[in-house]
């Protein structure tokens, strides 16, 4: 079930109503059932994969806690759990990729190998396996008590608002909240509705309209002039942001309706002044996951520069591969890592002196933001391209066709929607829509609601664009 579907419009109020009508002891069962229905709406049989992950990590958590004083055994259970979970991820996500590369290599060596692997990636696999792993690691580290209630643990992995594309929650936050008693509070309903409305606006009105232009140009880059290709590249930056941010915001809102607080996944990333800062603002739940479970165990930043650079590259390459089983994703991650290292090296070599003048300081910041946006936009080409050939075509078309080719005809209203979004992003700098709204007078607030409702209903794109992060 997707958030911008009529099914979800019916599903969510029913679940919320039942949640408040049922006693606390029955809520977990209802939420778990609802989450199963939500997930099985896509491909029912894939719930079995989730079940396997849940059973492995649930058992591992208990066993690790049981052998708290036996480090060797404890570690063995952790390794079994992590390897099993990663194995599932490997089979469903990476086996096809490995096989294709193996076949390619064999053919290059003159060997006649034609094995094919045709496995469809279960939706949201990368997200819930990471969430499940974080639980086992936290139990191992002693930060989290093992969950004895199988239902609650299952719900922690399967909680429908964040099941498919995150945010990737930690047990310390979500699992704890699932046990808490939640009373009906008007404030939660109000905040939840605001977030859902805002999320729908940025997904359905901004991202989906931009998506149509991006698809058009990426399908035939050579037919467009360079300005149009560059415009499509910039549009994709906003499309992917609005798409993912929209989904995360609806997830936050849906959970908030029932009183659950899910962590923020974005904080105006395109206002970042460096690649490092960008990753503090983009897909925060994934960045912090890698920070806590990969980067810091590797030594983090408390090591020599060379080792630090290596740690950074490992994390970013893993992050790239996490997104998709393709060389383009790997290079995308590598490029981000490399640039982050270069930025840090430059900062160390040439420490910046803050200008005395406020205007000069602001201008410098704006330049830095523009630089980061341009670099991130260029990197998104690797992310969006179907393969290296497509990526090459896009870059080639962006620099070599200024004279000829079609001009991308963008409808005026699409500029308006994009402008509205950019304005909202500036207004919401280091803030969130639900809390930002609270500070406004009633009439202004309701005018904003009315505008958003109208835009979502009457001006949303009618093309069906699946959420981009569903494929991960």
């Amino acid at each position: 079930m997707v958030f911008n579907s009529i099914e979800f419009v019916i599903f969510l109020p029913i679940v919320v109503a039942l949640f408040y009508l049922l006693p606390q002891r029955a809520r977990w069962l209802m939420l778990l059932t609802a989450s199963c229905v939500f997930y099985m709406w896509f491909v029912p049989k894939y719930i079995l994969i989730l079940l396997v992950t849940i059973i492995i990590d649930y058992s591992a958590g208990i066993l690790i806690e049981k052998h708290e004083n036996e480090p060797k055994k404890k570690k063995t259970y952790l390794v079994i759990s992590v390897v099993s979970t990663l194995l599932i991820l490997f089979i469903f996500k990476y086996l096809g990729f490995i096989n294709d590369n193996f076949v390619w290599l064999c053919q290059k060596l003159g060997l006649d190998v034609r094995t094919t692997v045709n496995i469809i990636l279960p939706i949201g696999l990368s997200f819930h396996t990471f969430q499940s792993m974080s639980y086992v690691i936290e139990v191992y580290r002693g930060h989290q008590k093992a969950e004895r209630h199988f239902g609650y643990y299952s719900l922690y992995v399967m909680f429908f608002p964040q099941l498919v594309t995150g945010p990737i929650e930690r047990p310390g936050s979500l699992l704890r909240q699932l046990h808490e008693h939640k009373d009906f509070r008007y404030e939660n309903i109000s905040k939840g509705m605001r977030l859902i409305l805002f999320g729908l606006f940025i997904k359905m009105v901004v991202a989906d309209h931009l998506g149509a232009y991006v698809d058009e140009v990426y399908a035939n880059p050579s037919e467009y002039n360079s300005w149009s290709v560059m415009l499509a590249m910039a549009f994709y930056s906003f499309q992917i942001y609005c798409d993912f941010f929209g989904y995360s915001t609806i997830a936050l809102g849906s959970a908030k309706l029932m009183g659950f607080d899910i962590s923020d996944n974005f904080r105006t990333p395109y206002l970042a002044k460096s690649i490092g800062e960008f990753w503090h603002r983009w897909h925060i739940s994934l960045s912090t996951w890698f920070r806590d479970y990969v980067y810091i165990p590797l030594g983090g930043s408390r090591v020599k520069f060379g080792r630090w650079a290596f740690n950074i590259l490992v994390v970013f390459v893993l992050s790239g591969i996490w997104h998709g089983a393709a060389w383009t994703f790997l290079f995308w991650g590598f490029a981000h890592g490399l640039l982050h290292i270069i930025e840090k090296a430059m900062n160390q070599r040439f420490p910046s002196i803050e200008p005395q003048s406020k205007w000069l300081s602001v201008s410098l910041d704006l330049l830095r933001m523009a630089k980061t946006f341009v670099l991130v936009t260029l990197f998104w080409v690797m992310f969006r391209a179907t393969d290296f050939a497509n990526m090459r075509d896009i870059f080639a078309a962006a620099v070599s066709n200024f004279g000829g080719g079609q001009t991308l005809a963008v409808k005026p209203e699409v500029w308006l929607y994009l402008g509205l979004f950019i304005l909202s992003d500036l207004l919401l700098f280091n803030d969130r829509f639900d809390t930002w709204c609270e500070t406004k007078p009633l009439v202004v607030r309701w005018l904003i609601y009315a505008l958003l409702i109208f835009l979502v209903i009457a001006c949303s794109s009618v093309n069906s664009f699946p959420f981009i992060y569903f494929q991960f």
Partner: protein, 488 residues
């Protein structure tokens, strides 16, 4: 609680205002962009049509070389010169689409009778779960009976089935596996899936005893398209029932036009089991709707022969002009009961070109050098027919010597070539009707062709009148004859 109630009331008021704003400034643009089918009923109403023909591609498809390229619905109009007939034609449509289009015709319109295409294949899983269903159903969302803003809400939140091509195909496959087929005689087929698989596995053989892949594939198409049995729970039945109810409610007469299928090909490729299913399905529909008040069913299932089907490599209801004429006539005869005094049979008028209306014929020019489509001869070339005699009467209007007799042959793979024979000025003098006679050899090239055409061609701007074109084949030992001495 009071606070909440006030907010709900404010929201309701806001939605009311939004609906007004949307209807006034946005709705029409959206209709044109996402549901342009709305223009079809609007046109019918604007034209004050009394008879409306609803169809899919079968109504408007014609052969590339046909002089008569009119729709079936236009041909129906010939039978009722005093009644305005219109059409609502939309490709890949089916009963659900027709029902929704009919609902868009206001009660106060001049429409009295509707003719609804009943396509047998549309009851099959392949069409019910067609890949075209997503765009078709999407078009219906904006024209539902709700307030415009609600319709737009439903469109925005994708209140229509969104499935990938693979998912639609999977549904059709599942259906074919699940639905069992019942025969009153011994048959080895339990369901369409098994039948289709068996045909694909066994294959059809050509005259040399070799597997004919093209024919096998076509046979599989026929099985997939017709190997089903219509039951009351078929979704199309509900839609046709809804159409009947709507017509009763509006006081419209209704004619169901059960379209001809290529029964010849079905019989040739698959055999009696498939014919049995096609006929029982036809009987089901005729029995269900034929006896209703103000409803007539034009049963045309077996009306058109294989040669009049345009698509020979696929299952369609696309007919050459003659086939369309046959269908139009049957529909007109069904309509006759509702308009007895308006009915006029054009076939009773003597026409220059067979039984077609004079108005239907097209001036012969270099785009359409011959007068009709691919009506093939009923007999194949015999071994001893070594010559072909061509004889016609012609009259030149001006002094032009470009007139030619053309023999054009086709090899069956899309290639063709032709021989041109000049009609000399001495044969046909200006302003005088004279016979032109040719005796041409039937050589090996012509003999090996799939078919050939013989026609008089006038590439000049100067008109030439031609009549009584006569073509006869004869053995070499017989001398060329004149009019009236034909061997066949």
């Amino acid at each position: 609680m009071k606070k909440l109630l006030i907010r709900i009331l404010v929201l309701a008021a806001l939605l009311f205002v939004m609906n007004w704003v949307y209807s006034k400034w946005f709705y029409e643009k959206d209709l044109q962009e996402h549901s342009d089918m709305v223009n079809l009923p609007r046109q019918v109403v604007a034209d004050s049509c009394r008879i409306v023909y609803l169809g899919e591609s079968s109504n408007r498809t014609y052969g590339w070389a046909e002089s008569d390229q009119r729709k079936i619905s236009e041909m129906v109009g010939d039978y009722f010169p005093s009644v305005l007939c219109g059409d609502m034609t939309k490709n890949a449509s089916h009963a659900e689409i027709y029902y929704n289009m009919l609902k868009l015709i206001p009660k106060t319109s001049s429409v009295e009778t509707v003719v609804v295409t009943m396509n047998l294949r549309s009851f099959d899983a392949g069409w019910i779960y067609s890949r075209l269903e997503t765009p078709l159903k999407k078009q219906l969302v904006l024209v539902q009976d709700y307030p415009p803003l609600v319709n737009r809400f439903l469109l925005a939140f994708k209140a229509y089935p969104i499935r990938s091509d693979a998912e639609w195909d999977q549904l059709a496959l599942k259906h074919r596996k699940k639905e069992s087929l019942q025969f009153p005689f011994e048959s080895e087929w339990n369901n369409a899936y098994q039948w289709d698989s068996a045909m694909a596995w066994r294959g059809l053989m050509d005259s040399q005893g070799q597997r004919d892949d093209a024919m096998t594939e076509l046979a599989c198409h026929y099985i997939k398209a017709y190997a089903f049995q219509i039951h009351d729970d078929n979704p199309r039945i509900k839609d046709f029932d809804d159409i009947v109810s709507l017509c009763h409610e509006r006081g419209w007469n209704l004619v169901f036009n059960l379209m001809p299928e290529n029964v010849d090909k079905a019989n040739e490729l698959v055999g009696k089991d498939l014919l049995y299913l096609m006929k029982t399905n036809r009987d089901y529909l005729v029995n269900r709707y034929g006896g209703l008040e103000h409803v007539a069913v034009a049963d045309n299932l077996n009306l058109v022969r294989d040669v009049n089907f345009i698509d020979q490599n696929w299952t369609t209801e696309h007919y050459y002009a003659e086939g369309r004429h046959f269908v139009a006539r049957q529909v007109a005869l069904a309509l006759k009961s509702f308009y007895p005094s308006d009915f006029f049979d054009p076939q009773t008028v003597n026409l220059d070109e067979g039984h077609y209306l004079f108005s239907n014929t097209t001036t012969i020019d270099n785009t359409f050098p011959y007068s009709d489509g691919l009506q093939l001869s009923s007999e194949a070339l015999q071994p001893d027919w070594d010559r072909v005699n061509v004889e016609f009467k012609a009259c030149r209007k001006t002094d032009s010597d470009k007139m030619m007799l053309v023999v054009q042959w086709y090899d069956g793979e899309g290639n063709s070539d032709a021989n041109y024979y000049r009609v000399k000025e001495s044969q046909i003098p200006v302003g005088k009707w004279e016979f032109a006679t040719f005796s041409l050899p039937v050589d090996s090239v012509l003999r090996s062709s799939q078919y050939f055409k013989i026609f008089v061609y006038n590439p000049s701007d100067s008109p030439v009148q031609v009549k009584d074109l006569d073509i006869s084949f004869r053995p070499a030992y017989m001398k060329p004859g004149v009019k009236g001495e034909k061997e066949r």
